[in-house]
Structure formats: structure tokens, C-alpha cells
């Protein structure tokens, strides 16, 4: 099942073109990894999927990105609803300077998802449990989220993202600021989350892409060079550039 279908996506920062004619299909309930050297446009593409590029004044996006038979670049698209359906986890853990509980309840509150305190408690608990953080923080829900360790903060951000039950979760190098143990925990979590969510992860670590993803797309200089199943990309790439990048000859 195709969840996201991108057609001829071009992105410009001012006059400079950052993405060239991207055509990529994302499979539902699978993990898709986007790899490529720095500045290749993979994060820019990821930010197209929940229209986060709107935040940047000079950024323009062209082409179609179709999610659930609906073009999110269309004028009639409601960005608030879109971002409710498509959550995002960032490179650096960015919990709000609020309590752990408030960090999770933030999304459900602004989308009016809980009618009562009990419902909200339940959402907070299930989100934290799904993010494998509940056991560590259940006794300190009302302490600031910024007091957690880096790995815990990132899982808190994942819990925050899944609190609004998104269909898709975008992850922009979620482990680059974390140590190997915290990274392993997050990777395990990603595997768990793909049952309910479609996950797209940008990563610099080829090993991580190989470990967590079913599909991989390779970006280079703003173009999508090759995409397909992770097995095929890593074992038998068609394009020489992909081959070179994966074997570590450049990048």
C-alpha cells in the first residue's frame, strides 16, 4: 500500500533550487530511510511532507505530494490537520520547557482530543508507554521535561509526536545527538512503532538505515538517485553513485 506519493517535487530556497523533480512512493506501515551526504536535500524533502518548509520565508515548494488521495500542497489543505496526521521528531531533542505531562498533553489539547482529565491521563500514559518511557518517568510526570537525559528527551519527543495518533511519523536524524545505548533504544522503538505508523527517517548512519528500514532512498545534490527495498539498495544498487556512497567511497 502506498501511503505518500510525491510527483515532480521541486524546492527552491530563494533562487537556489534545493530539490530537483523528486518522485518517491512511501509504503504504509514500513520504515523508509533517506540517506545521502550532507546538503543533499533529504531533510528538505522530509520537511515537505508536513509543510514545515512553510516556516521558512524564502522557501517555495512545487509539485504534488499526495497523502490519502489528497494533495497537501493544494491551497485547500489545512496545515493544522495535516500536521496532526503527520508527526515529526527532530535532530536535537526539543522538549518544551514544561513538565513531562504537559509536553505530552500539548498536542491533544490543541487538537481537542481529550474531553476530561481522565482521558488526557490515559493519552499521556499510552503515549509514554508506546515510546518506552513510561517506566522511567511515571513517578515524575510533573517535573520539567528538560531535566531528562538526552535519550529520554528524544523518547519524550517521540511520545509527544505519537500522542495525537499520527498516521505518519517523520524523523530527522533522531539519533545523531545520542549515545549508542540511547540510539539502540530508539531503533528498537522505531521497529515497534511501524505497526501503527508509517515512518520516514533521515539518517547519516548507513548501518542504522540498514538496521531499521525496509525501504531506502538515496539523495545526492538535490536529486533522488535511487530508491527501492533496503536489501536491494545495500546489496545490489543499480546506480554507481549509490554503490560508491554505500561502500564509503564518498560522502
Amino acid at each position: 500500500m502506498i501511503k505518500i506519493n510525491s510527483k515532480n517535487v521541486d524546492v527552491y530556497y530563494g533562487k537556489k533550487q534545493a530539490l530537483f523533480n523528486i518522485n518517491l512512493d512511501i509504503e504504509e506501515n514500513q520504515v523508509t530511510a533517506l540517506i545521502g551526504p550532507s546538503g543533499c536535500g533529504k531533510s528538505t524533502y522530509l520537511r515537505c511532507l508536513n509543510r514545515m518548509n512553510d516556516v521558512i520565508d524564502i522557501c517555495r515548494v512545487k509539485g504534488q505530494i499526495i497523502i490519502n488521495d489528497f494533495d497537501i500542497n493544494d491551497k485547500s489543505c489545512d496545515v493544522v490537520r495535516l500536521r496532526e496526521k503527520i508527526g515529526m521528531v527532530f535532530q536535537k531533542p526539543n522538549p518544551f520547557p514544561k513538565t513531562i505531562y504537559e509536553n505530552i498533553s500539548y498536542g491533544p489539547t490543541i487538537h481537542g482530543m481529550a474531553q476530561s482529565k481522565n482521558e488526557m491521563d490515559e493519552i499521556v500514559e499510552t503515549s509514554l508507554k508506546k515510546a518506552a518511557l513510561w517506566e522511567e518517568v511515571k513517578d515524575r510526570l510533573h517535573e520539567p521535561g528538560t531535566g531528562l537525559s538526552g535519550g529520554q528527551q528524544q523518547r519524550l519527543c517521540i511520545a509527544r509526536a505519537i500522542s495525537v495518533k499520527p498516521e505518519v511519523i517523520l524523523m530527522d536524524e533522531p539519533c545523531s545527538a545520542l549515545d549508542p545505548i540511547a540510539t539502540a533504544q530508539i531503533e528498537e522503538l522505531i521497529d515497534e512503532l511501524k505497526k501503527d505508523h508509517t515512518i520516514i527517517i533521515v539518517t547519516h548512519s548507513m548501518a542504522q538505515a540498514a538496521r531499521v528500514s525496509q525501504n531506502t532512498g538515496f539523495f545526492h545534490l538535490g536529486e533522488l538517485i535511487e530508491h527501492g527495498s533496503t536489501d536491494k539498495i545495500f546489496k545490489n544498487p543499480e546506480n554507481k553513485k549509490t554503490q560508491d556512497y554505500i561502500t564509503g567511497r564518498f560522502g
Binding site: V80, L82, E84, M88, F90, K92, Y106, G107, I110
Partner: protein
């Protein structure tokens, strides 16, 4: 004379810098490694020139007048003059030597004046000789001493540290001096007026103290009901409150607009324009309040059948609020801008709108800094003088009606201290007591503001 000497010493300093550096280059050219860059050798010599000069100049400034005075007055010893009379003679001598003496000139004083002039000229020329010879000696000594392995960098760095330390010490000592000048007069004031009457009295009428005949003995009872500071404290806080009612909402909203909504171009022009408000002298705000806003409010009030005085707390407070807008707007803009972009991204990615993000994430994160900026604004409001003097009148009414005139601590200090006054008079000392209480209030506010700002800083580190 002093100026020429000073210029000469400065030139000497530059010369020794040049020689020090040249010596370093010479050492370098013999393929020896220096312990510091050549200019450090230059600075080192210049310091050897500056420090002795400074020491001698200061010693001279301290001792020369005393010694000259002693020498002059030694002629008058054994003639049974009192100390005060001797001082008077010395002052007359000095005035005569400057040609400013207008009284009757006695031959004694004329002789003294001549002696004074000759002593001064001896002192001046010996100073020049001593300073120059010591400087040249010390520079020559240092010049001989420096070699390839002598330490020059460390002394230079130490000297710079000492200079910077002296600068901050001067600022601190000035503060201490101001506090002490307030304390002693304040204590004297409270010897006459009980602290209780000052803090809790409800009548402020210092003009009553004018009536006293200075030849009469001081009678504390006549000052009861004169120096009750409650009306002016109330007035101060009331006007500051009105000012903050204007400044906080407008300043905060414009700060939020500048930081979050304005495009780069708008911000580029709007921010300096708002900050221009902070550059307007308060006296200009004062006549804006007194001549434009006051009469305008009076007219509006009269047309609605209200009795508005031309000098009202509302006019002064409102204009003061306008004056404070740029402080709050600019500071809160800075604070909001410094909230990390990652928090905004996190909130937008959850599907929050711009206003939700500001209300729920950015504002709480920036709140400590915003509170700090507001407290700084409050201490400006409490310390503001000119606008109140010009627009709100000088009568210390105890009122909570913004349409009547009230007065503030600072305005009363002005009222008390303009014109002639006698030191040691309770009326004058009242100004010091007011200054002291104002100092304490703003000090507390500043401490709180700094605490809050510090707490904010820790948040993202």
C-alpha cells in the same frame, strides 16, 4: 605648565615604546628567540615610563599644597593667630596671587603672595625636573634589563588587569560614596523627625518648614504633620502603576509582533524607530505631557462633565508609559527572539498555529526574561522625575483619582532642593531621606530583576 609636562611624558612614553620594540627586533635579528612578541617589549618600557610618572604626579598633588601652606604660614607663627584666621590669611594670599583679591591689601599679605608665587614656581620646575629624571632613569634601567629571555608579556598583562580593575573599582567606590552621602543626612533627618512619622504620616507639606526662623531653636514638635511620606509614596506607585498599565500591554504586544510576525524588512526599520522613543529626553516628554496631553484630557473630561485638573496623574503616568514602551518592547523582543527555533518547530510540527505556539510555548519560555524587562521598566517609572514635575504638579495629594494631581518622591526632591537651602535643616535633609528610600526601592527592584534574568539564562544552558 602641567599640560606641557604631561604632553612631554606622553611623547616619552611613545618613544620608549618605539625603543623597546626596536631592541626586541635587534635581539630577534641575532637569531635569538624572544619570549614575547616585539610590541610587548615596547609596552613594557612604556609602562616603566607611565607608572613612575603617575606615582610622582599623585604624590605631588597630595603634598604640594600642604607643604606650600606650611611654609607660608610659618611666617605668621608665634603671632597668636587662631587656626581659622590662619586659614583666612592663606586664602587671601592665594586670591591675591591670582589677582582676584578685592579687599584691603596689607603689606604682610602682599609679601606672602609674592612668596606663594615663588614657592609655586619652584615647586613646578622641581616637579618637572624630578619627574623627567626619574622617568628617564627608570626607562633606561628597564631598557638595559630587557634581553632575549626577560619576561615582558606577564607584567604587561598584569598591568592591563590592574587598569581594568581600577576602572571597576572607581565605579563601585562612587556608588558607595553616594550611599554614604545619603546615609549621614538621612540619619540626621531621622534624629529630628521620628521614622514612624515619616513612614506612616499622611501629610506632606515641607513648605511649612520654610516658616521657621533660623535663629529659633529647633523644635521637633513643630514638624509633626509635615514630613509624612505616605502621600508621595502612594503618588509614586500610583503614577508608576498608570505608566505600566500603558507600557506593559503596548510594549509587550509590539515586542511579540516584532519578534514573531514582522518580516525581516519591517523589523529592520520598526525596531530602531521604536527605540528612538528611548532617546527622547524626558524633559521633552514632560512638556508633551504638560502642554498637549494634560489640556487634551482636561477638555475631554470637561466635555463629559468630569472635573479634570490640567495637571493630572493620568497625563503624567500615560506619557511616562509611552516613554517606557521601547524598553519593554525592545527587551522582550530580544528575549522572545532568543527562544530557540527548535521549540517553535516542535510546536508547529504538532499542528499548533502561530498564536497557540506563542501563547503556550514561546511566552512561557520567555516569561522570566519578560518579567525582568518589566521590572526594569518599573524602576524607570519610579525614578522618573521631569514628566511628573511638569505634568502632575507638586502638591502631594493623597488620592487615588487619576484625574487629580499627585506628586512623587523624585518630584518632591526637586521641589525641596531647588532654590536656596540651608544644610542641616530638616527640610533639606528630608530630600536625602526621600533619596534613600527611592534608592532602596529601586535597588530591590533591580535585584529582583537581575535574579529573574539569571534564572532565565540557566534555562537553555
Amino acid at each position: 605648565m602641567n599640560l606641557i609636562l604631561f604632553t612631554f611624558i606622553v611623547l616619552l612614553g611613545f618613544t620608549s615604546y618605539y625603543f623597546g620594540r626596536r631592541k626586541a627586533y635587534t635581539i630577534q635579528s641575532t637569531n635569538k628567540r624572544l619570549t614575547a612578541l616585539p610590541q610587548f617589549y615596547g609596552y613594557y618600557l612604556a609602562i616603566w615610563c607611565a607608572i613612575p610618572a603617575f606615582i610622582i604626579f599623585s604624590l605631588w598633588a597630595i603634598f604640594e599644597p600642604t607643604i606650600v601652606k606650611l611654609l607660608i604660614l610659618s611666617d605668621y607663627s608665634n603671632q597668636g593667630y587662631l587656626d581659622d584666621e590662619l586659614n583666612l590669611i592663606y586664602e587671601k594670599t592665594k586670591a591675591l596671587s591670582r589677582g582676584q583679591f578685592t579687599g584691603e591689601i596689607t603689606p604682610f599679605i602682599e609679601a606672602s603672595a609674592e612668596k606663594y608665587l615663588s614657592l609655586r614656581s619652584i615647586a613646578q620646575s622641581s616637579k618637572a625636573v624630578i619627574v623627567l629624571s626619574i622617568i628617564i632613569a627608570s626607562v633606561a634601567y628597564a631598557y638595559k634589563k630587557i634581553s632575549s629571555n626577560s619576561r615582558t608579556r606577564e607584567p604587561v598583562e598584569k598591568f592591563l588587569k590592574a587598569v581594568l580593575f581600577t576602572a571597576s573599582l572607581a565605579a563601585i567606590l562612587t556608588t558607595v560614596g553616594i550611599v554614604f552621602s545619603l546615609i549621614f543626612q538621612t540619619i540626621d533627618f531621622f534624629k529630628v523627625i521620628p521614622l514612624f512619622d515619616f513612614v506612616f504620616g499622611t501629610h506632606w507639606y515641607p513648605a511649612k518648614a520654610f516658616v521657621r526662623d533660623s535663629s529659633e531653636a529647633l523644635d521637633p514638635t513643630m514638624y509633626s504633620d509635615t514630613f509624612g511620606a505616605v502621600p508621595i509614596f502612594a503618588g509614586t506607585f500610583f503614577i508608576a502603576f498608570i505608566a505600566m498599565c500603558v507600557a506593559i500591554p503596548i510594549g509587550l504586544m509590539s515586542g511579540i509582533y516584532l519578534a514573531e510576525y514582522a518580516s525581516v524588512k519591517v523589523r529592520q526599520y520598526a525596531k530602531p524607530l521604536i527605540e528612538i522613543l528611548a532617546g527622547i529626553p524626558t524633559v521633552v516628554y514632560g512638556f508633551f505631557a504638560a502642554l498637549t496631553v494634560g489640556p487634551f484630557l482636561k477638555e475631554i473630561g470637561n466635555s463629559m462633565g468630569l472635573d479634570v485638573s490640567a495637571e493630572s496623574a493620568l497625563a503624567a503616568g500615560g506619557v511616562m508609559g509611552i516613554m517606557i514602551i521601547p524598553f519593554i518592547s525592545s527587551l522582550s523582543d530580544d528575549v522572545i527572539t532568543s527562544v530557540p527555533q527548535s521549540l517553535r518547530d516542535g510546536s508547529y510540527a504538532m499542528g499548533a498555529t502561530k498564536s497557540e505556539t506563542i501563547k503556550k510555548v514561546i511566552f512561557p519560555a520567555a516569561l522570566p526574561g519578560i518579567v525582568g524587562s518589566i521590572l526594569l521598566g518599573v524602576s524607570r517609572a519610579i525614578g522618573e522625575t521631569m514628566i511628573v514635575v511638569m505634568a502632575s504638579g507638586l502638591a502631594a495629594n493623597l488620592t487615588l483619582n487619576p484625574l487629580e494631581s499627585t506628586s512623587t518622591i523624585t518630584a518632591q526632591i526637586v521641589v525641596i532642593l531647588i532654590g536656596d537651602q540651608a544644610f542641616g535643616d530638616p527640610k533639606t535633609q528630608a530630600a536625602f531621606a526621600l533619596g534613600m528610600s527611592l534608592f532602596l526601592v529601586t535597588l530591590c527592584l533591580n535585584i529582583v530583576a537581575l535574579r529573574v534574568v539569571k534564572k532565565y539564562r540557566e534555562k537553555y544552558e
